[in-house]
Symmetry: C2
Subunit: 237 residues, 2 copies
DNA sequence: CGGCTACTTGACTGTGGTCAATTGGTGTGG
DNA sequence: CCACACCAATTGACCACAGTCAAGTAGCCG
């Protein structure tokens, strides 16, 4: 059995000895999914996790009234739901493909066996989870302590640095998807996102061009991202 | 060198072979701290983590204007900040003792060595982090998708089940600390918590007696915890 | 050209955070 | 034993942020 390229390119398995890679590959099943296919819901038995070979997948929490909070959007080469197979037997969140996607499902039980025989892989996994924790802590901070404007500004800055764009020369940041999706990532709704983008434009920090954002004034953007909320916006009358 | 009881009782190290326990103990340094002592701030180099031997420690994010979101309150036998030593070199949050506490600090570098030689411990750690992730996902859900009333109701239910109290016979849940602390755990402020406790009382779900909460109507409490937000609270006029 | 979706804009309102004053409980010292 | 200080908790008044509903616009594809 040969090893799918997606596994080889996956951060989690990078540098894994060929033999082990084959073991993983032996477990794995790749499948194509249409856009918008639910993969699992919160509460489903967590007996597997996924590696994205192609496409994109959103992992999210659903509240009553159908509001959703997106926790993560997994891109090709990333794995998701790997934490779920360690704690409890149920997925804590739901997942759904955003577009037509090819996913590799890795069943929990044999993978856990593999881990027992492969401390190096376990350590790598540990690092991955720790990173995840950090992201979630940041999300909590955003939701609890920052307003939408600060979250959005922060998101743009992170996005720019993730794509290693040079902010000084007016970076052009592609939002990548619909604004409704971004809104739900930031813990808000599309209407508010729309207004907030407009406000950032008024402030002179950015310019919105279609689905791209031009960073006009990085300094101001940084100020809005970090030091928000200290100006209680002058009392009326 | 003998092994401190706190290490032996720590969930993370339970069942660890005596020899390894000694190795950990050899690394560790126990120290007493006064109440309200800052242990580290967000951004400090994460070169160690802690096990609580006695007392309590809060781990929290600080926003501008001094508002804080508590991520965790660590009790004796628990470890905290262990994730930080794997991802990045900085603590993502701050920590401070709530009362006079004795803490065991475990330096990162030698501990990582120990892990490399101890796959069993690594796996246990993995499980611990995964559990943490789940809690944080729940916190995100709370902050993003539930109102304060639902969060509070949910907290009371979790607290009751954690202490394995029988709800049917009017469980008495001790809040354990000041209401200000609880408020910051739930992502709100003491004033709002006060009002919300009052509302839950009006609804007939609970009765507040000093720093204890009596669960009067578990069914209603569960309804308020889970299905919140679907009743837009009857229009005025 | 019609229909669909993404997006924007407007008007409105609820939740909950802020500030400030009051109450209550507890420990200390005269 | 009372007066005082101190802190936790409550209550009231206010208001801003952001979510909802609804209508309108833009862009895209068949």
């Amino acid at each position: 059995m040969n090893v799918p390229a997606a596994l080889r390119n996956c951060r989690l398995f990078a540098e894994l000895p060929e033999a082990d890679l084959r073991l993983v590959a032996a477990l794995a099943g790749a499948r194509r999914f249409d856009a918008g296919t639910p993969l699992f819901e919160a509460g489903d038995p967590a007996d597997r996790f996924y590696v994205v070979a192609a496409g994109r997948v959103k992992v999210f929490k659903l509240g009553e009234q159908g509001r959703e909070q997106i926790l993560h959007v997994a891109h090709p080469g990333e794995s998701f739901a790997e934490a779920a197979i360690f704690a409890g037997r149920a997925f804590p969140a739901a997942a759904e493909t955003l577009e037509e996607s090819t996913l590799i499902a890795i069943p929990a039980a044999p993978f856990l066996d593999l881990l027992r025989r492969n401390p190096e892989l376990t350590l790598r996994l540990l690092g991955g989870l720790a990173l995840w924790l950090r992201r979630l802590v940041d999300l909590v901070e955003d939701l609890s302590l920052r307003d939408v404007q600060a979250r959005l500004a922060g998101f743009l800055l992170r996005e720019a640095s993730a794509r290693s764009l040079d902010l000084r020369s007016g970076a052009r940041i592609p939002l990548g998807t619909t604004k409704a999706l971004l809104a739900r990532r930031l813990g808000t709704v599309s209407e508010t996102l729309s207004r907030t983008l407009y406000k950032l434009q008024q402030e002179g920090a950015i310019r919105v061009v279609g689905r791209d954002v031009l960073v006009v004034d990085p300094k101001r953007l940084r100020a809005l991202a970090g030091d928000r909320k200290e100006v209680p916006a002058a009392r009326g009358s």
